[in-house]
Symmetry: C2
Amino acid sequence: MENTKEQLKNSVGNVEAKTFTFAEPPGEMKLESGVKLGPITLAYETYGTLNSDKTNAIVIFHTLTMDAHAAGFHQGDKHPGWWDNLIGPSKAFDTNKYFVICVNVLGGCKGSTGPASINPKTGKPYGLNFPVITVNDMVETQRVLIRDHLGIKKILCMAGGSMGGLQALQWAVAYPDEVASVIAIAANARQTAQQIALHEVGRQAIMKDPDWKNGDYYGKSIPANGLAVARMLGHVTYMSDKSMEEKFGRKLFDKEKFGYDFSHEFEVENYLKYRSENFVQRFDANSYLYISKALDYFDLAPNGDLAKAFRNIKASFLVVSFTSDWLYPAYQAKEMVKALKSNDLDVSYCEVQSDYGHDAFLVEIAGQAHLIQHYLARIQREIKK
Amino acid sequence: MENTKEQLKNSVGNVEAKTFTFAEPPGEMKLESGVKLGPITLAYETYGTLNSDKTNAIVIFHTLTMDAHAAGFHQGDKHPGWWDNLIGPSKAFDTNKYFVICVNVLGGCKGSTGPASINPKTGKPYGLNFPVITVNDMVETQRVLIRDHLGIKKILCMAGGSMGGLQALQWAVAYPDEVASVIAIAANARQTAQQIALHEVGRQAIMKDPDWKNGDYYGKSIPANGLAVARMLGHVTYMSDKSMEEKFGRKLFDKEKFGYDFSHEFEVENYLKYRSENFVQRFDANSYLYISKALDYFDLAPNGDLAKAFRNIKASFLVVSFTSDWLYPAYQAKEMVKALKSNDLDVSYCEVQSDYGHDAFLVEIAGQAHLIQHYLARIQREIKK
């Protein structure tokens, strides 16, 4: 079941926002946990044109709090999709050449099935009856869309930053024959104790909010306070000490001297307030719980042998990390690179000098565009050989 | 007004836990904000014996969430004071030689006047009627106790880690003739945007808890949920990526395989829960707000010229930082050292190799004991010359 929702008003070539629904009961999809789920709807956008032999497809994966809207403008939007400056005609992901797909993840709240979706068994939103999902489950659902529905048997490139990179990696491990290349940016092969701990602080902020009501808050007050705190913490982890110092320093907010009260004294406090208030308007608290939980489970080598976990991979890799990213530190990318190289895979690695922290993958555009463009050109040349 | 509360059951020499009350109205103390406060009670402990010319006093300052109980055991306690392994006979702060004082800060909740204290004007706890305080206010109150009440005109050494180091620095700047030496560990001369942001996330977690009730929760439900989230975040910032990986890694909590539900899957999640539940039993949420706010205001050189801000200092310095401390990174200690040295002051600096993050100042005892012991011996030799 496929629906075209809207044509995007933009300049990225042929663009469409669609939904696709599958796994209608009784043919529900079995998740990694063993629980069955269906029907499953995935919202996705495409930019550019799929060629006749379906060999020019690139899949872009989004992060914890983003969605399928990676490029172009939706009707009435002031801001384009989240990676618009890398996706479009003559951009790094050149929509004159490539057919770019971005799918809202399972568990999300932007058109794909998630905890806010209606549970067909009850006629009410799933809430906590939604099953716990994993990055692997995200990939399995994407594959139904891409391979079975769109008929694309091999993806030219899978690319993403942060959680997006994790999905690309999971694809390359799970379906080595279907992924020609991977661009993994600010990513890792296993979530660490620190990452799990940071997710857990955010989740506890949400789950301790009385409005969360064990996940059953739809149609009532949303747990905006808890979600706001989770988002504030998120922002601190996405920036670096240095980028916060450069952007805010100790600048006062809307005053010339200290007020000595519990209103915001500093600009950085107001920034966190402003950004978190925006966020709670656009994101579902339960999706935050489920997707952060999916991240926690991510570990491509539970036995510790990453080289072995990577031994079936056939894709070539471009791995990018950023010097000031402390949420996904460069050493984690290097561990991946080492394990890939130990399997004699083609790996390019670049540690980009940047003060922007984890946010760099959204901000350091020129450097990434250069790397991606040349990498894709090389991949295409090698495939044609 | 002075009261001896109890003799400590321990082996650190002559030890006493006392309170001292001053600034009785109308002689209230004027705070940095201009607001007047009084009476002010300070809880403090002393270890060892003050010599007859009062020249062997060392002041130890505590962190955001600690208190005056730095060493020894209180009746019935299982654990000694927070720096017990550095304070005692023949320890780094040798109570056979030195008279060690530790004062619970103004704004605290362990005997000193803070937001949970009774406001004499209303007969009820201050709550948010307690004035906003600064590190300078902490120092001013400590000075009344140490100089006016105990009659100690010059302190041999002032030492502390984290917020404790900030108080020592503030003393050395404000009262250069009264401080012979400073040991500043895991500290800095100004709070950065990242530090302020982390404080603010914790504060918002507390203030968004419906039980916080604008600070007026005494005798009712305490904002335990918000305070727990603040403390969880605190713990993540006190550890390092590496120490969390070594301590917890991806170890599961009380299970052998994933449960795929919202109970805790990982040990690190349970650790945060356990530690935060302990914390809310022992610490007042409003004190957390006031003391973290005091940290935010801390900046010894608002105009950016730290060398100039340090130009009146006479104390010699031992500055210690830890390689994996990302909350008070080593570069901030080095900025201090540079500014001190530019004033021709005697400064020893050591960046200790440690994986324990900010917690290192509580954990890396052997290395610190060695540094402190030799530094104090040298200071005493030089004073005698």
